[in-house]
């Protein structure tokens, strides 16, 4: 049994056999043979080696004819690897001593070789790993024959283990078969993680070598709540997790009951539960989970591929689709917030030129510097606003009054140009800003009169205010939403908003964390935008408290001098209401 810790990015508990994508594009269906089949298995293996040998020799001849002698050594190396006595001994001893099938033995042995080779620093050897895969595939093709399965033809429920997954790969997964995801790379805010959360598939990332360490067919436990992955759990652990899996499943099902119930406190205060999304297609699922609208529509995916962003038409098409999906419910579109952690690899070269990207030219600053790109998005949003009064626009990363005024100026410009072109737009479209820079929180009273609403972005607010990079393991534990400074900043923003008569919402992760629901409601927040999957449980908390009691609790929480005291207090109060979550 191996216990590995990674980064939890999507909650839930799942126990299934692994389907490893990367070194095998197929799954090993059988792992063991009976004693009397052992000799037969070693024979099968030897035959597979012979078949592979003649394949490679033919290939070598072929290549010699087509490409000359240059590349022949590659195939010579392959042949030697294939005919390596050490490898044969290792495979055969697995078959004889452990009763493995030939394919499982091959998988295990090659996995070990791959791991050894990957641990060598020289990049040349990282590339040799590709040769290993090649040889293994060749052997497995013969051994598995027609039994090959691939990701698009799964016949059983599995846990997907991979080095990396692109958002498109995740989008195409058969969710009735892939019940959990485990990855070598990725972080909390990578696109892949965001998608796993959006699709509510339990997911743990950042395990570094898991795809090389797990063999197809092994039992894997994913604890997406705590970021733990267990390979081949022992009896006791398996039982414990099966229990937890069952409980969590029931809990999730029971939460769906809440879908159509309103998020009202026991004394009748209605809280607007909204969803954070990346794509129009997520809207349906969000509404199914009980969202009464979209509190944050991140538009970065529209800029993911192109440095210059997509055309106004493509923006418009996407926003139009979103409007169709929300069907009259609130839809808040946030303008480009491209930043250090949201870039895809192609842009990291550009990113690395800034020594301090988080404090650099990103988000609204980038837009103000590139008015053409900005205007394309603004035009599209304004055009979409003609489809309904429910569409609102939100500027991210505002740090000063001047910045806000500049943005509004460009928006006004864009309105004028649409008028000149005779294109319709909603003249009363609501405009808001994200409060995520501490300076904005502190001058919230100066900003409130200039906008129709605030949305507190706690993720960045906490990082900037506490000077903590959440992605840096050395300081990640300093990231504390319950820090008195944060609580005071939130309180300040809510009060400034109330005084100016504008709505104050919250769209950071804190709003989706049930530990803070009572606090936030008690502080006067009536609009919480979260990942769709947590809406039911937030609703459950809201329906179980009175706004009056929440206010008392919030007042008490604001008095604590340390984050620990505040958190302990909040956990204690929340546990009383929802004991099954802990």
């Amino acid at each position: 049994m191996e216990i590995r810790r990674g980064i939890p990015v999507s909650s839930g508990i799942v126990i299934r056999q692994a389907f490893v994508l990367d070194s095998e594009d197929y799954r090993i269906p059988r792992r063991f043979v009976t004693d009397k089949e052992i000799e037969g298995e070693t024979e099968r293996f030897k035959q597979a080696v012979k078949a592979a040998e003649s394949e490679i020799s033919n290939l070598k001849q072929d290549v010699l004819r087509k490409a000359g002698t240059e590349v022949v050594p590659i195939f010579e190396a392959h042949l030697r690897m294939l005919l390596d006595r050490q490898m044969h001994d290792d495979v055969i001893s697995h078959i004889r001593n452990s009763g493995f099938t030939a394919e499982y033995a091959v998988s295990k042995v090659f996995r070990l070789y791959t791991k050894n080779m990957k641990s060598v620093k020289d990049p040349f050897f990282a590339e040799r790993v590709v040769d290993l895969f090649d040889i293994q595939k060749r052997l497995q093709r013969t051994l598995l024959g027609a039994q090959r399965e691939d990701l698009s033809h799964l016949s059983e429920e599995v846990v997907l283990v991979a080095h990396e997954l692109t958002p498109s790969q995740i989008a195409l997964l058969d969710r009735t078969k892939v019940l959990g995801i485990v990855l070598d790379g990725g972080g909390r805010t990578s696109h892949t993680s965001i998608m796993a959360r959006a699709m509510a598939i339990p997911c743990v990332v950042g395990l570094e070598t898991i795809s090389a360490d797990v063999s197809g067919g092994q039992t894997v436990v994913i604890d997406g709540n705590r970021g733990i992955v267990i390979v081949e759990p022992d009896e006791a652990t398996l039982r414990k997790y099966q229990d937890a899996e069952g409980k969590y499943h029931d809990f999730s099902l029971s939460l769906l009951k809440y879908r159509h119930l309103s998020a009202k406190t026991t004394d009748g205060v209605k809280i607007n539960l909204l969803a954070n999304i990346e794509f129009p297609w997520e809207i349906k699922g969000a509404i199914e989970n009980g969202a009464s609208g979209i509190g944050l529509y991140r538009t970065e995916f529209l800029f993911a591929e192109e440095c210059k962003g997509v055309s106004e038409e493509e923006h418009y098409r996407t926003y139009k689709k979103a409007m169709e999906e929300v069907d009259g419910r609130e839809l808040v579109i946030r303008t480009l917030d491209v930043g250090a952690d949201k870039f895809t690899d192609a842009r990291s070269a550009e990113r690395s030129q800034e020594k301090n990207p988080f404090l650099g030219c990103r988000s609204i600053r980038l837009c103000l510097e590139n008015p053409d790109v900005f205007k394309a998005q603004l035009r599209a949003i304004l055009r979409a606003s003609a489809l309904g009064n429910n569409l609102k626009i939100m500027f991210p990363m505002i740090s000063s009054l001047e910045e806000l005024q500049q943005a509004k100026l460009i928006l006004a410009d864009t309105r004028e140009s649409l008028e000149k072109d005779g294109i319709a737009y909603n003249k009363n479209m609501q405009t808001g800003i994200m409060i995520e820079i501490p300076s904005a929180a502190i001058i919230a009273d100066l900003l409130a009169p200039e906008v129709n609403f605030f949305s507190i972005g706690t993720n960045d607010l906490i990082q900037y205010a506490l000077a903590v990079d959440r992605g840096n393991e050395r300081v990640a534990t300093l990231y504390k939403p319950a820090h008195p400074a944060i609580l005071r900043l939130i309180d300040r923003v809510v009060k400034a908003g109330k005084k100016a008569g504008i709505k104050v919402a919250m769209c950071g992760e804190m709003s989706g964390d049930i530990m803070f629901t009572i606090l936030l409601v008690g502080m006067g927040l009536q609009d919480l935008s979260t990942a769709p999957s947590v809406i039911p449980e937030i609703k459950q908390v809201i329906r179980s408290i009175s706004a009056k009691e929440a206010k008392q609790i919030a007042r008490r929480a604001l008095k604590f001098q340390t984050a620990e005291e505040a958190i302990d207090y909040l956990i204690e109060k929340t546990r009383k209401i929802l004991p099954e979550v802990y």
Binding site: P73, R80, R85, Q86, Y113, M117, K121
Partner: protein, 89 residues
């Protein structure tokens, strides 16, 4: 008979595909056991898989040890191969 020798790789690219093949082939010509000691491990010089994990670059010092009747011959052949930069340059 046991023979041990420390040999340094002097060819530019170190022990990549082609030289690795030549080394393994040379080792396999002889009956004796040939190992390369490194980092507390013992690599079987006749195994391509094992030799590849050596990741020996230019300048790497390899500790060879041969055990068997033709150990000396084997060692001489390996030494010559390395000195000739695996006939690469």
């Amino acid at each position: 008979m046991e023979v041990a020798k420390q040999l340094t790789l002097i060819n530019k690219e170190g022990l990549h595909a082609r030289p690795a093949v030549k080394l393994v082939d040379t080792a396999n010509r002889f009956k004796c056991e040939i190992v390369i000691k490194t980092d507390g491990r013992e690599i079987n010089a006749k195994s391509m898989m094992s030799v590849l994990t050596l990741a020996a670059a230019n300048g790497a010092v390899l500790h060879f040890a041969a055990k068997g009747d033709d150990a000396q011959e084997a060692m001489d052949a390996i030494e010559a191969l390395i000195a000739a930069k695996f006939d690469e340059e």
